[in-house]
């Protein structure tokens, strides 16, 4: 029972405080305890999970987001068609090429601009490079939450080679701002191709054998992750999972294959799926996609055509709408772009895969042990940049 105080029209209900001691403490231990998993947790990133635990068992989980909200969708409305890319790419800094490609394709659809073939191929190379960079961090951080930090360092060594290639191409390592509506901003030099090939060589010859020997099929890792956070095929579709998390449940959904964009229609690759649907399967999907992406880069470099890399994009774009999906590193990223005939976008709505994955957490984390919370969280492969946008 609470006592109520009426002041200035408001009613405050204050719970009675009661000192607990002696035998009553035993009763308190049986009560639910709310834990704040994050914002300060090393694995959580800038978000908080409210975790209610009964002893060691998780009863309920409630994600609390909004710590890195930057209003990217609103900021795009104040930009021109070209320079909106700097806001779009900051959805997530790790794979910035995927988001820029999606936005550019949407803008080209409205304007009716056809991109030269060379630009398509360069976009493909960059997108796959971004995917590899992102997957490397995903692999490293998954094993990292289990307490082993060596794979993250190995992954960062391999990632550095790709960042070198991006720096040669665009002048920046992370926020490259290199894909614009109408093509790509820079001509791919010989040095860029060379650096990209050396990066892929390092990945295939050094990283993959060494990492695969130790951290794939690892018995300790399997004990922690096999059978944890299981999602069936039907339930995965209902929950609206995206990307590697969806493919690990046996749904072969890949925008690159289903609705080919850029140069993916002309390249040969396969969609990786696993049937188990647990944390370990999601980890393996990321691992095998990494190997597949390296092959795509090699094919795209071989088939790189001659010609222009950029066409002129009009300053004013006719009124219209476009919805474009791209297969980003973390799943299907949707762009709903609206033009009202002005010099910049009227509205941009981004549908982010990590946001979709986040709301599967409350169901997946029911009746698991507290130690499984970081494993499930890391296996869903989320980025806080595109949860909040």
């Amino acid at each position: 029972m609470g006592n109520s105080i009426a002041t200035a029209g408001y009613t405050f209900v204050v719970e009675e405080s009661k000192e607990v001691s002696g035998e009553d403490l035993g009763l308190l231990q049986e009560k639910l305890l709310q834990l704040n998993w994050g914002v300060q947790h090393p694995a959580s990133g800038p978000m908080r999970l409210k975790v209610w635990v009964d002893g060691d068992e998780v009863v309920k989980v409630d994600p609390d987001i909004g710590y890195v909200l930057r209003l990217l969708e609103k900021l795009v409305e104040y930009r021109t068609w070209i320079n909106a890319i700097v806001n779009v790419e900051r959805a997530c800094f790790i794979d910035n090429f995927g988001t820029m490609t999606g936005y550019s394709i949407a803008a080209e659809k409205i304007a009716g601009v056809k991109v030269p073939k060379k630009a398509d191929y360069i976009r493909t190379i960059l997108c796959e490079g971004g995917r590899i960079v992102s997957h490397l961090i995903g692999l490293g951080s998954f094993v990292g939450v289990l307490g082993v930090h060596t794979p993250m360092q190995w992954a960062l060594i391999a990632r550095e080679k790709f960042l070198d290639a991006f720096e040669v191409y665009s002048g920046q390592r992370i926020a490259t701002a290199s894909i614009v509506p109408g093509g790509v901003r820079y001509e791919p030099t010989g040095k860029f191709i060379e650096k990209m090939v050396t990066a892929v060589d390092f990945l295939e010859n050094e990283f993959i054998p060494r990492y695969g020997e130790v951290f794939i099929d690892n018995p300790t890792l399997k004990v922690r992750s096999v059978g944890v956070g299981k999602v069936s095929k039907e339930r995965a579709i209902e929950l609206g999972l995206a990307g590697p998390a969806l493919r690990a449940s046996g749904v072969s959904s890949d925008i690159r294959k289903d609705y080919p964009y850029a140069a993916y229609g002309e390249l040969d690759f396969k969609v990786i799926t696993k049937e188990e649907g647990d944390a370990y399967a999601r980890y393996l999907v990321i691992w095998e996609e990494l190997i597949e992406s390296a092959k795509i880069i090699r094919q795209a470099i071989e088939g790189l055509p001659e010609g222009d890399y950029r066409t002129k994009f009009p300053v004013k774009v006719p009124a219209g709408e476009a919805y474009v999906n791209v297969e980003w590193a973390r799943g299907c990223f949707g762009f709903h772009l609206i033009s009202n005939g002005g010099t910049g976008p009227y509205r941009l709505k981004m549908r982010a895969p990590s946001f979709a994955n986040l709301w599967a957490i409350p169901e997946m984390m029911k009746n698991v042990k507290l130690a499984d919370v970081p494993v499930i969280f890391a296996s869903l492969y989320m980025c806080h940049g595109d949860i909040d946008r």
Binding site: N83, V86, N87, E167, V168, G171, Q172, A177, K191
Partner: protein, 173 residues
């Protein structure tokens, strides 16, 4: 034993002297960082260079800037009417201003491979004063003024010639 130790003393002393002299001439463990070693690629996006004599004052760079950090400062002459000034602490070094610049073959605003940008002390006041300004602005203005004077002289001469011709025609009539 003591005698032996005393005998060994000069040997140890010489050993120490040799060690110190070696350390003096050995390469240092730490080096000054800006002299070498940092890679700058072909398209490195660093400090801006603005050339006032090339600028035509179209303000395309200011319109292309996504963070509105480029300000067009009026010069007082007709060409260029205004030159860009970049507020460096707001700039995100995306290089879109360089893409937008229409001057050919050399761009008037350019991102160079100069990466050393030091503000000391790094207070807000100092940072807001950290601005990339156009090079040779005064020379360019003087040049433009001279050109304007020349043009005006030519115009006046042409006017005079016209008037004279008109007067001659009237006289002939």
């Amino acid at each position: 034993m003591e005698i032996k130790e005393t005998l060994l003393l000069p040997i140890e002393a010489t050993k120490k002297v040799i060690r110190v002299t070696k350390a003096l001439f050995a390469p240092k463990a730490t080096e000054i960082w800006w002299d070498k070693g940092i890679r700058r690629e072909l398209r490195y996006r660093g400090k801006h260079v603005i050339k006032a004599d090339l600028c035509i004052g179209c303000s395309m760079c200011a319109r292309a800037c996504p963070v509105n950090c480029i300000e067009m400062v009026p010069t007082g002459v007709k060409k260029p009417r205004a030159v860009p000034k970049v507020r460096a602490n707001e700039c995100i070094f995306c290089g879109l201003c360089e893409d937008a610049c229409p001057t050919k073959p050399e761009k008037a605003i350019k991102l160079t491979d100069e990466y050393r940008m030091i503000v000391e002390p790094g207070t807000w006041d100092n940072l807001s004063k950290f601005i990339f300004e156009p090079e040779n602005l005064e020379e360019a203005i003087e040049k433009a003024k001279k050109m304007e004077e020349l043009l005006e002289k030519k115009k006046q001469e042409a006017l005079k010639k016209k008037q004279q011709a008109a007067a001659k025609k009237k006289e002939e009539k």
